[in-house]
């Protein structure tokens, strides 16, 4: 690419958005007539913009309102506290206590880990079958048998259970790795490396601030991403 093409490419988004003045627009259009590379890039940028305009917002998998109503009620904050409490109660037609919001607190983190280990073990069973899945099932059994004695020990226990499930899926994947094509393996390794760094960094930050719920949620999310990636890739080895 020539220096001139390089210079004009930096202005292509502004051109696309109609933000160049008439003199710049004329100069760029003159350049475009003789530069196939810039015309190609312009076409791709135009397609990116069009794709962005066609994106569809997906609703949440579950109803988030119950968690919002509960928080409004619990915090007693907002425009009027007492009517909130009274009216938030009416949002539950059954009169039953509303379920907790989707977000994790530290006790929920432990509970979420148990559920996630169960899910991953189930997937491992589907992906691997036989003895490998049985070991994942044992990890699940161990997880569900534990009662959090305190926030941080519970969190550590949950983390250990995650790791057991991850280790199980990694073994499943190692056994079926040769059935994946080279590009998939390379992409998998790259993504795993990124996620592992995220996990390491989160743990490092948590070592300095172990009671930080936000960091715990971040760590849980990173581990969840790793489990999900391993689970999906392990399933590929069975195809």
């Amino acid at each position: 690419m020539t220096n001139e093409a390089d210079r004009w490419q930096e202005r292509l988004s502004e051109y696309l958005d109609g933000e160049l003045d008439s003199e710049q627009t004329a100069a760029l259009e003159t350049h475009l007539e003789g530069c196939a590379e810039c015309r190609r890039v312009l076409g791709e940028l135009r397609e990116v913009v069009e794709r962005a305009g066609r994106l569809i917002d997906m609703p949440a998998a579950g109803d988030l309102w119950t968690g919002i109503a509960e928080r409004i009620h619990a915090e007693g904050s907002g425009p009027a506290a007492w009517p909130i409490a009274r009216r938030a109660g009416r949002t539950s037609s059954s009169g039953r206590r509303q379920p907790r919001r989707v977000t994790f607190s530290l006790p929920q983190l432990a509970a979420a880990a148990v559920l996630l280990v169960a899910l991953s073990a189930g997937v491992a069973w589907q992906a691997a079958g036989g003895a490998a899945a049985r070991r994942a099932e044992l990890a699940t059994t161990a997880a569900t048998g534990q009662t959090p004695a305190g926030l941080l020990p519970a969190s550590r226990t949950a983390s250990n259970d995650y790791e057991a499930a991850i280790a199980q899926l990694e073994r499943v994947l190692a056994a079926g790795r040769q059935r994946l094509d080279t590009a998939t393996v390379r992409t998998l390794d790259e993504r795993l490396a990124i996620i592992d760094r995220a996990i390491d960094e989160a743990r490092e930050a948590l070592a300095a601030d172990p009671s930080n719920a936000y960091l715990n949620r971040y760590l849980a999310g990173a581990i969840r991403r790793k489990l999900d990636l391993l689970r999906r890739t392990a399933a590929l080895t069975e195809l």
């Binding site: 933000e19 990116v48 409004i72 915090e75 425009p79 977000t103 995220a198 960094e201």
Partner: protein, 169 residues
């Protein structure tokens, strides 16, 4: 419809606020999903509506409720990123990898679907791209929201679009 419900909500009417939630939740979640990623989308959607409830008395009705709610949500989403950044030495590993050499960024978006490619953009580029190309904000509005210059907004938008070309296939 929105303005009436916003007025009722400001008086403490939760049913009215729930109606506002039902009308706007999917769009707010879409914003949170693309700005902060899939893992945080539901939580940030809830945070945004709780914040909106707390602040709804400040809604003057001189702009569309949806626009006001959007600004509240953007503030919540950006706050989420800042809180996370405080606790890490060099920013999230994904971020400093994303912020690294451009050839890596280019490589990571190739062959991945468009939504996933947006999620993999560097934070600043992703925020500008989502606000401009998905949500339709102008550069001067984005500059005010993100506390950057309009020139930075334009350059980050171009950077995001260039990176996303790899996800078109």
């Amino acid at each position: 419809m929105d303005s009436r419900d916003a007025q009722l909500a400001a008086e403490g009417n939760v049913e009215a606020f729930e109606r506002l939630y039902r009308r706007h939740a999917t769009r707010i979640r879409g914003l949170a999903y693309r700005m902060a990623g899939a893992d945080a989308a539901d939580e940030l959607t809830q945070d945004a509506f709780v914040r909106a409830w707390q602040k709804i008395g400040q809604f003057r009705g001189d702009a569309a409720f949806g626009s006001w709610l959007y600004r509240v949500a953007i503030s919540v989403v950006l706050g989420h990123r800042r809180r996370l950044a405080i606790h890490r030495r060099r920013g999230a590993p994904e971020e400093w990898i994303r912020e690294g050499d451009p050839s890596h960024e280019r490589r990571t978006v190739i062959g991945i679907d468009f939504e996933a490619a947006i999620e993999r953009l560097p934070d600043r580029a992703r925020h500008v791209f989502v606000l401009h190309d998905v949500e339709g904000y102008k550069h001067h509005e984005i500059a005010r929201l993100l506390h950057i210059t309009t020139g930075t907004s334009k350059s980050q938008l171009h950077r995001a679009r260039m990176l996303l070309r790899g996800a078109l296939a």
